[in-house]
Assembly symmetry: D3
Homo-oligomer: 127 residues x 6
């Protein structure tokens, strides 16, 4: 992992931006691993910064969606880091519980729909 | 698929409840396929009814999470039906766009985290 | 797709073996598509023939496991073809219903275990 | 994790039922983690109890299907716990070997079918 | 889908760049669907343009990797479009056959490794 | 795991072939775990040997494809072992970086294509 002290000025600039945007003095392992490839580091950070900013959806809801994807994919790192982020952004135990219940149920009915070979209802098809 | 006219009273009762809860006169293909197994129909409907009811998360946010799971799993039926449900519950084109962007990005970084074999930061580990 | 009439003798030999083993005069699309690559056709068929033969598990149970994997992966072709095979081998509607229920539940609890970041119990770890 | 001593009477009741149904004095981590949300604990346990009970399929076959899903999804916790359950229910090394072989092969041919873009045979389509 | 005639100048500019970069007069459905959200269209195109450009890996090898991911995820659209792109970039039937064989085998051994709960060899762990 | 000293002559023969083919004196955990089932060990090794041999694709490119599948599936063991194999076969840091970028992007656009319910362009459909 690339530590701040050993980083190029290009990488340091992104580390600074991550810490400033997130109002923290900690750069997590994901970014320090990615820093071996400054091009991917920069592109990924700029995409994340744009996508996770407040918009039509608030930042906490975006974290919940991130967790839903990460849990479905069984990505241990992403589950741990985004659960921490969501908690920092105000996820209560009640929200976490309901989030987990929806994720579990969706994964279940996704397979029932596939296994029963259910055809898409005419009214649900995109025009 | 089991049509209302040919359904047992047990299945009809669930169809009635689905239509009443959702304030519609349409029972979609998923339930009519599941109705071949009244036990699974009943259990799945009761779980869905409980999980998708308003709580710490509002019904639209729950639909967005459902879509996130379904898109990650490439479940065509579920994507179509829950996109329709979310739209009926007020999902705007702006919300849809941001939802898709977050889902896409999460699926990307899930793989970067795995491929770079990133270890979970000590501070993200559950106590 | 490679039809019997146009197939090389090498491919015809495998088609013959498929029809004989399965006691049918029909070679399904999967094999006719694979026949563009006789090496993969041969290796895949020989593996399938060995793996799906009666052993400690009977052929129907093996088909049920095949369906469980195919449904979890959302593979439309495989779901359709192995549901047909399982039915031909005696899968009743009751067995199908229970199979679907187990597949759905396993997909649900797989995500609950991941999302709650449950650690493996000491007693479940391989020695 | 919620230990028996600190659990509410509602949670204790479910722990008791789990231990009684499984004829053990051990409640595994999955349930103790889920107990933070008694509603999900109760719904999940009641679904599992209903689904995994003997029926058209025997309990061991149901465990094998559970393992097939868990392995396909790369769920470490679920693989470990259901392999232990299956072993307790009589899974022999021979059954385990054949199970693994079928799971592996199904995951392989699922991708060959997708990559070769094989169309579903008319005779395999649901009526 | 957003057609060129009805597109904003911002979207047209990206369509022009896609056609120029790929030396074609056709903009495929993926981009025309994404154009409903010009921000995601722009970010996705600029990322793709950067990532798929010749570098340490040649463009055809990058397409093969794209196909490997798409087949593993069972994404029908992506399999069809990237198989077409790879063919246009010189993928021979022999390369396609070997690609499919490797994808299939990797999906198989991924599950054997998981199901047998194989621990990572000390020498394979990242330093 | 089955060690060489305790292995049957049948298993030893395969261990010898693995070490000879790979020009190493190390048999990794995957094979030693699989050796509990000599039939699967033999079939898997012979398939791997055939598929990963130089052909229309060179061995390094095949390893890159293996990594793409393993990362998409979140298989920790396979990511670690095939990253080591690819490095031994000459994968440079630049190739690794580009590989990761393509895998990440493909996983992202796979979901955009699914979520936007993009239809396959007529020209991309297999004839």
């Amino acid at each position: 992992m690339v530590e701040y002290e050993n980083a190029s000025s290009e990488v340091r600039h992104i580390y600074d931006e991550i810490m400033q945007t997130r109002q923290t003095d900690y750069v997590n392992n994901f970014w320090r691993a990615l820093a071996h490839d400054p091009i991917t580091l920069k592109r990924t950070w700029e995409s994340i910064k744009q996508i996770m900013a407040p918009g039509a959806l608030d930042p906490l809801t975006k974290e919940l969606i991130y967790i839903a994807v990460s849990v479905t994919n069984q990505c241990g790192y992403c589950i741990a880091s985004h659960t921490a982020s969501a908690t920092a952004k105000g996820m209560t135990p009640e929200v976490f519980s309901e989030l987990m219940a929806v994720i579990g149920m969706a994964n279940e009915t996704n397979r029932l729909a596939a296994g029963y070979q259910v055809e898409i209802d005419a009214r649900y098809k995109p025009v």
